[in-house]
Structures are given as C-alpha cells and as structure tokens.
C-alpha cells in the first residue's frame, strides 16, 4: 500500500456510532424545505420518489463501503493515490475540499437565515454564524473522539423533536394523499434530483473509515443510520403532504418549521421559535463533520496541521457569511452545492467502482498464484 494510515488505537471508535454520525450529517438544514421542494415536482407521489432515492442511496453506500473494504483501511486520498497516481489524487482531493466548503458554507448561511427570518429580523447574520464557527472550532480542537461524541449526544438531545411531529400527524387530512401514482416521467426525474440533495453527506465515510475500530460492522450500522434518516425524511414528507393543502404546501418556504407552529404545550405556546433555536443541536454536528472533513483532507494532501487549517476555515466562512446576505445569493450557493453534491456523492463512487472490482479480481488471482 502506498499510503498506510496508522491511526492510534485510542482514537478509534466503535462502528455503532456510525449510525448517529450518518443520521446527523444527512438530517441538516435541507429537511425543513424538503417537503415543498419534492412536492413541487412529484405532488402526492413525493413519498414514492423519496423511497426510490433512498434505495439508490442505500446502494451507493454499499458501493462506498465495498470500495473502502477493497483498499483496506485507507481513506479517499489513499485510494485516489493508488488508482490515479499522485497528481490526479491531489486534484480530486482539492475538488472535494472545495465541495465540502460549499456545502458547509451553504448550511451555515441557511441556518443563520432561519434565525434571522424566524427570531431576529434585525440581527446581523454574521454574529450568529460567527458564534457557530467558534463552537465548531472548539469541538474540532477536541479531536475525532469529541466530534463523534457531539454527534451522539446531540442526536440524543434532539431526536425527540422529530417525535413531536406526532401532533400535526393527528391533524392529517387523508384526502391530500390521493390520487396515487399519477406522476409523469418528467416529474419523477426532477423529484429524484431534488430529493437526492437530502442524501448528500454519505461521503463522510470516505475519510471516517480508517477510524472505525470494528470495521466488519461498518456496513450494518451505516446502512441502519441511512435507514433511520429515510424514515425521518419520509415522516416529514408524508406528514406535511397530509397536513397542508396542496396549494399551501407549494407556497411555503419551510413547511417543516411551520408544522411546529401548531404544537403548543401548557407552558410553551409556540414550539417553532424553540425548534428554530434548537435546530442548532441538529445542524452543529453536521457543520462540525464537514469542517472536520476539510481539515482532515487538507492534512492528508498538504500535511497542514488540523489546528491551523481550522482557523483558515473560520476566516473563510466568516468572509463568506459577510458577503452572502441576500436570499438570491444564498439560493445560488445552495444550487451550486446541490449540483456539485450530485457529482461527488452519487457519481464519484460509481466512477471508482470499476477500479475496486479490478483490484479485487487481481487480488484473488494473486492469492491463487501464491
């Protein structure tokens, strides 16, 4: 192997944490807008579209893990080096970093957008975003174990919020689901494209794989994590289709948060305000993982210390936060993130797959010869 990765044993974590990591990186800012975006194209059959995309995502995840297993314990950069050589590996590595940064920045600005729209119309986004980056840097300084811990604990703290959606679920009008299976080819394609954006993030495995202690369980837990995400996404989509009238759903920007509006407790009148602030616990692991991916791949390519590169990311994202301040720019950024995500998440593993298969066949032949 060209690039053996020697991860110290005390830094490795159990594969079962992959469940929480995948759930956290997949459920982010996108889920609040997802019902509307899918519904625009697929109407009542949105749930079908989500299921089809989910099946594709499960297959892709299996492909990624298959490739990682073939190259035994190295990460994406090591694989690229072995298949394409140093130069192309570096190009792809940098492209990935740019992609990670775009996703990271769009998620960060999107979250500040939530807060500005829902809670503080007068506040500058910069301060809110900057506070987030402080937390991200503080967490990354703790190392991989702390990052995994944050994913795990924040999942425990925040998953009940999805359960609260049972309240709008009781107000569903079942007529909204019918008629079934009326989707045309164009709608299906566009719907698939849109719902694919919710599955960006499974590429975290490319760099996380060497850190897993019991690698044989990787497949089980990451697929489970993906499955839990699918259930959550389906829940959001199905409940919002039933809850809102079709015309209404198309006009709402963030149907996810609007559903929280109807929930009220005897001591808490409007849960949406709470949910938007509490969304920090959902979005933070997501951002932390992307920031870690950037610092980690920079370390692999250029040997820059992670504690130095994280400051570069903070400065760059602060600049980005400062300049992206209109809704239009943000939408533009999100679009770039989505399209590049399609390539890096969905096409890239398929591109690598033939090389991995060839390597496997050769490996088998070599074993026979020996």
């Amino acid at each position: 192997m060209k690039n053996p990765l020697n991860i110290p044993e005390h830094l490795k974590f159990r594969a079962s944490y992959l469940f929480f990591i995948l759930f956290n990186i997949l459920i982010g800012v996108g889920v609040v807008a997802l019902p509307r975006r899918v519904f625009q194209h697929a109407k009542q059959d949105s749930w079908l579209v989500i299921i089809i995309t989910a099946v594709i995502a499960h297959l892709l995840l299996a492909i990624i893990i298959f490739i990682l297993k073939t190259y035994k314990g190295t990460d994406l950069y090591g694989i690229l080096q072995e298949t394409f050589g140093n130069w192309l590996a570096k190009v792809f590595g940098y492209l990935f970093i740019v992609y990670f940064f775009i996703v990271y920045l769009s998620a960060l600005t999107k979250y500040t957008e939530f807060i500005v729209v829902f809670i503080f119309p007068q506040h500058s986004r910069f301060i809110i975003g900057f506070l987030m980056t402080i937390l991200i840097a503080y967490c990354i300084y703790g190392g991989i174990r702390v990052i995994v811990g944050v994913c795990f604990l924040f999942f425990l703290l925040s998953f009940w919020l999805n359960g609260v959606l049972a309240v709008p679920a009781t107000m569903i009008d079942t007529n909204n689901y019918f008629p079934l299976f009326e989707i045309d080819r164009n709608g299906l394609f566009n719907g698939l494209l849109v719902s694919a954006y919710s599955f960006l993030g499974i590429e975290v495995l490319w760099y996380l794989y060497p850190y897993i202690r019991n690698k044989e369980k990787t497949m089980l837990y990451s697929q489970l994590g993906l499955f839990a995400t699918v259930i959550a996404l389906l829940g959001y989509v199905i409940i919002s289709i039933g809850f809102f009238a079709p015309k209404q759903l198309e006009s709402l920007i963030w149907p996810g948060f609007v559903m929280f509006k109807v929930i009220s407790f005897s001591v808490f009148e409007r849960l949406d305000i709470f949910a938007v602030s509490f969304w920090k616990f959902i979005i933070l692991p997501n951002l932390i993982l992307y920031a870690w991916l950037m610092t980690r791949s920079l370390k692999r390519i250029k040997h820059i210390k992670q504690k130095h590169s994280i400051w570069g990311i903070i400065i760059l994202s602060s600049i980005g936060l400062h300049f992206i301040d209109t809704q239009r720019q943000l939408e533009h950024l999100l679009k770039i993130a989505d399209y590049s995500g399609l390539f890096f998440t969905f096409l890239f593993p398929i591109l690598l797959l033939p090389f991995a298969i060839i390597k496997r066949i050769r490996g088998a032949k070599n074993e026979k010869q020996n």
Binding site: R14, I115, I128, L135, V267, E269, R270, S277, K280
Partner: protein, 509 residues
C-alpha cells in the same frame, strides 16, 4: 567550599560533651528555637546520657515510659546498641550528621546521646494533634456511617484499612513538596484497578514539583487534567465510606497528611450527582433520587436563563394565561429582565455566601432575614417580579441537591454566563451556551479517561450504577467505565436468590 568545611566540622564534633552538643544543635540545626530542650540522665554506672527533643512535637507520655525510664533503670554500662534494644519503639536511626539530626528532631524524634560516643540514636515519637473522628459536615448523609476523615493520615488510613481489609489493597507512599515535605498515600485494589490509571496517577504525583501541598483539595487541583475548566476533574470527599466504596469499584484514592478529605480518581460527571445514601437506601429510592438530582441540575442551570430569554425576546412563546400573571407581576419593574435576574441571582449568592461565612447561630438568622425579609421587600419595592423570585429560589434550591459542594458551586456560577447570553441573544444564545458546555464536557478528561462516561462513550451496563440504581441482585458487574481488570464480581451467585428460583414453578408450589 563552605559546605565542605561545615561537614568537616560536624564530623569532628563527636565525641563531645552533652553541653557542647546542646549548644551546637541549638545554634546550627535548631535555629535557636525556644522549645528545644535537653534532659540529662545519670545511670548507676555513672554514664551521662542526654535526651534532646522539641517538647512541642513529641508525645511526653511515650517519651517518659518508653525511652527515658528504661535507660534510667539500667544497671549495666550502656552503649548505643544496648539502648536501642531496650527501647521497643519501631522507628530508630543512628546518625552523626548534625543537619540530619536536626531534620529528624523537627519531625518529632528524640535524640539520645551517650557522652563521648561516636554516634547518636534517634527515635521517632511524634505528637500530632488532630480532631477526633467527627460527623461529616459538608457531605451529610441520612443512612450512612456519617463519619468524616480527620486531619491525621494515620487515623484516615486506619479507617480505610478497616473498611477494606484485604491484602489486595495496595498502598503507595510519596513524599511531595520541596520545601515542606508532605506525606501522600495512593491506594487502590491491585487486582481490580486499571494499570494505566495507576501508572498515570503515579507519574503525576512523582513528577509534581511544588513547594508544599496544603491539603488534598490543593493537590487535586495541582494534578488535574485541565486546570482552566470550571468543573472539578477529581472528586474530593470527606466521607471514608464513599472513598472506600470507590476504591472497591476499581478507582484510585489519594490521602494527604493533615487533610480531612481524600481524592478519588478517575471520576465522571455523573458521579458528582451520586451519594452513598443511594446505595444504603432501597433501590427504588436511590433510582428516583439520582434521576431527580440530574433533573435538578438541569433545572438549576436552565430555569432563569429561559425566563430571561422568553421575556426579553420571545413573548409569543409564553401561553396567554401565564403571560397575564407575568405581566401583572412585572408591571412595576423598571429593569429589563436580564438586569432584574442578574440582581436577584447576585443577591441569592450574597445570602448563600454570608450564610456560609457566619457562625452557625447567626447564619440561621441571616437566612431568615435574607430570604423572607429582603425577598418580600424587593417585590414590594418593585425591584423584581414575584415569579422571578420563585424561579431564582427554585434554581438555587436545585443546585443544593448536588451532593458535592464543589460541583454545586460550579453549576451556580455557570448560570451567570448562560443568563447573559440568553439576555443578549434569546434562545439562540441560550442554546449556544448549552452546546458549548456539552462540548466542553465531552472534551474534559479525568486521568485521560472520558468525563462523560457512561453516556459517551456509551456503556449501557454502567447506567445501573451511575444514572440510576437497580437491585443488588441484578448488579453482577463492576462499572466498566473504570476499566477494571475483572468485571465479574467475586463470589456473586445471584441464581441462588429466591427471585430466580421461581422459574418453571407455578404460584403456591
């Protein structure tokens, strides 16, 4: 050069007369201390024997009975060896160096010298005044033995030895302090405690360079993983039963001389919310109290910040019925909620601190004056709202449920930054601070072991001994968070319990 010449002079001191030795010792080694005395005894064989000691730190009874009177009664000619055989005390040394003799005298030894001899004999009879074993004051218990450690390390060791009387209890002794050496004892079960932990703690103790160790609380701060953190990373407990219980579960304990408390390491965040009372009481009570304490901890840091955030920015969050009564009680208050809360929280801290510093009898009056009189007056004067008084009192009360006083105080201080952030950024600031605290807790280490165990790293089998408590019958394993060598408890055969004998039988069989 100077030192060399002094050494020569000292070597040439013996043999000398008793009076010469007295003046030498007094001037050179004793710094002209007034409590340095010499007693001369003449035996029947007309030998003159001198006893030198500091009368403030030797036990007079032992000195007379065990040392002076046997020598006095001796009929034969005595030399150093025969005197040593006569005295039945364990710790004897023969010295001729003046400095060394002086050092030992300060530590409570008696120097015996036969006139014109080459050597002097030293016996240790130190007198250490300390409190007798008393009731625990800061960590009070309901069911437990209710005794606390004393100042004497001997007494403390005796208590621990009695509670853990097995040869597996290993004790290691360290002398720490360059200027004033202090005795420190580290103890653990050598068949249970994790080797890495023991080696790590031993390294920290031996590599500690300090002038002196005041007591165990100071020592624990000197060897902590992260001294900047607000949370304590070692537990300092004054309860011998808690100390011995932790050792039996595979933790390491440290006792410091002259200190009425012991250090327990490694520790987790949740263990600060456990009390030995939970173990002595029935398991349902323990289960409930532990969960309640955790809940109280969360309430104590979040209640007032939520009030500030909701009233400053998020009126719409408050239900209509509550909003009316809130508005009614706040309509005379001239301050913003943030200032109002900070004033009242600070006042609460004043009352608590004054109560802690004042003598007990005055302290009670203080509590009544502070709590009732000022509380009433503040509301009537329109300084704060009634509801805030309830919330502040409630969160103060909740913070006192923490069995560990240090942790309780940390949590109370932690409230202030959360309140300030909630006052400036509402729920966003509030959750920012909460996330910060959680990440900080995840980053903390105690002896390089995760502080948030057993929640993260998730160890399900440990929950029955940390967050909750289950019946002892079901409790078969030691907590794996301590990484013990043996997890299975010895000689526990729970299948003999009547609870497990009913399998396959019907009622009334």
């Amino acid at each position: 050069m100077k030192r060399k010449s002094m050494k020569k002079k000292q070597q040439s001191l013996f043999p000398c007369t008793l009076e010469e030795l007295q003046t030498e010792l007094k001037e050179k080694a004793m710094n002209n201390n007034p409590d340095f005395v010499m007693k001369i005894v003449e035996t029947e064989s007309e030998q003159r024997i001198g006893f030198y000691f500091l009368y403030t730190i030797v036990k007079p009874q032992v000195l007379y009975d065990q040392i002076i009177s046997p020598v006095q009664k001796a009929k034969m000619t005595l030399d150093i060896q025969s005197i040593d055989h006569m005295i039945v005390l364990p710790d004897s040394k023969q010295k001729s160096n003046l400095d060394e003799i002086g050092q030992l005298l300060i530590q409570g030894s008696v120097c015996i010298y036969i006139e014109n001899d080459q050597m002097s004999l030293l016996h240790s009879v130190p007198l250490q005044e300390h409190r007798s074993i008393e009731r625990a004051e800061t960590e009070s218990l309901i069911f437990g033995p209710q005794i606390a450690f004393t100042n004497s390390i001997g007494t403390n060791l005796n208590m621990i030895r009695n509670m853990v009387d097995t040869p597996h209890l290993k004790i290691e002794k360290f002398i720490i302090g360059n200027r004033i050496p202090t005795e420190v004892q580290m103890m653990y079960m050598d068949d249970i405690a994790n080797d890495e932990n023991v080696i790590e703690l031993r390294n920290r103790l031996t590599s500690l360079r300090t002038e002196d160790v005041m007591n165990s609380a100071v020592l624990s701060q000197q060897i902590e993983d992260n001294p900047y953190s607000i949370f304590p990373q070692f537990m300092v407990s004054e309860l011998p039963d808690r100390f011995s219980y932790s050792i039996k579960e595979g933790k390491i304990g440290i006792l410091v001389d002259n200190s009425p408390s012991g250090i327990i390491a490694p520790i987790t965040f949740s263990s600060f919310f456990e009390s030995t009372d939970d173990i002595y009481g029935r398991w349902i009570i323990g289960f409930f109290t532990r969960l309640m304490r955790m809940f109280a901890m969360i309430v104590s840091i979040t209640l007032t910040p939520i009030y500030v955030a909701a009233l400053t920015f998020h009126y719409e969050v408050i239900p209509e019925a509550l909003l009316l009564s809130l508005g009614e009680s706040r309509n005379r208050v001239p301050f913003p909620p943030l200032l109002e809360t900070l004033i009242l929280e600070t006042m609460m801290e004043f009352i608590r601190e004054a109560g802690a510093r004042l003598p007990t009898k005055v302290g009670q009056t203080m509590g009544i004056v502070g709590g009732i009189v000022i509380g009433q007056a503040v509301v009537q004067a329109g300084f704060t709202s009634n509801i805030l008084i309830i919330l502040v009192a409630l969160s103060a009360l909740a913070s006192f449920t923490t069995p560990d006083y240090v942790m309780g105080s940390s949590l109370r201080i932690l409230r202030f930054p959360i309140i300030i952030f909630a006052g400036f950024l509402g729920f966003v600031g509030f959750f920012f601070m909460l996330a910060f605290i959680i990440i900080h807790l995840l980053r903390l280490r105690s002896l390089h072991r995760p502080y948030t165990a057993p929640i993260y790293p998730f160890r399900f089998t440990d929950f029955d001994q940390s967050q909750v408590r289950i019946p002892f019958v079901l409790n078969k394993e030691r907590p794996v968070s301590n990484l013990p060598k043996k997890t299975e408890r010895q000689g526990r055969n729970s299948h003999n319990h009547p609870l497990f004998k009913t399998r396959g039988k019907d009622i009334d069989e």
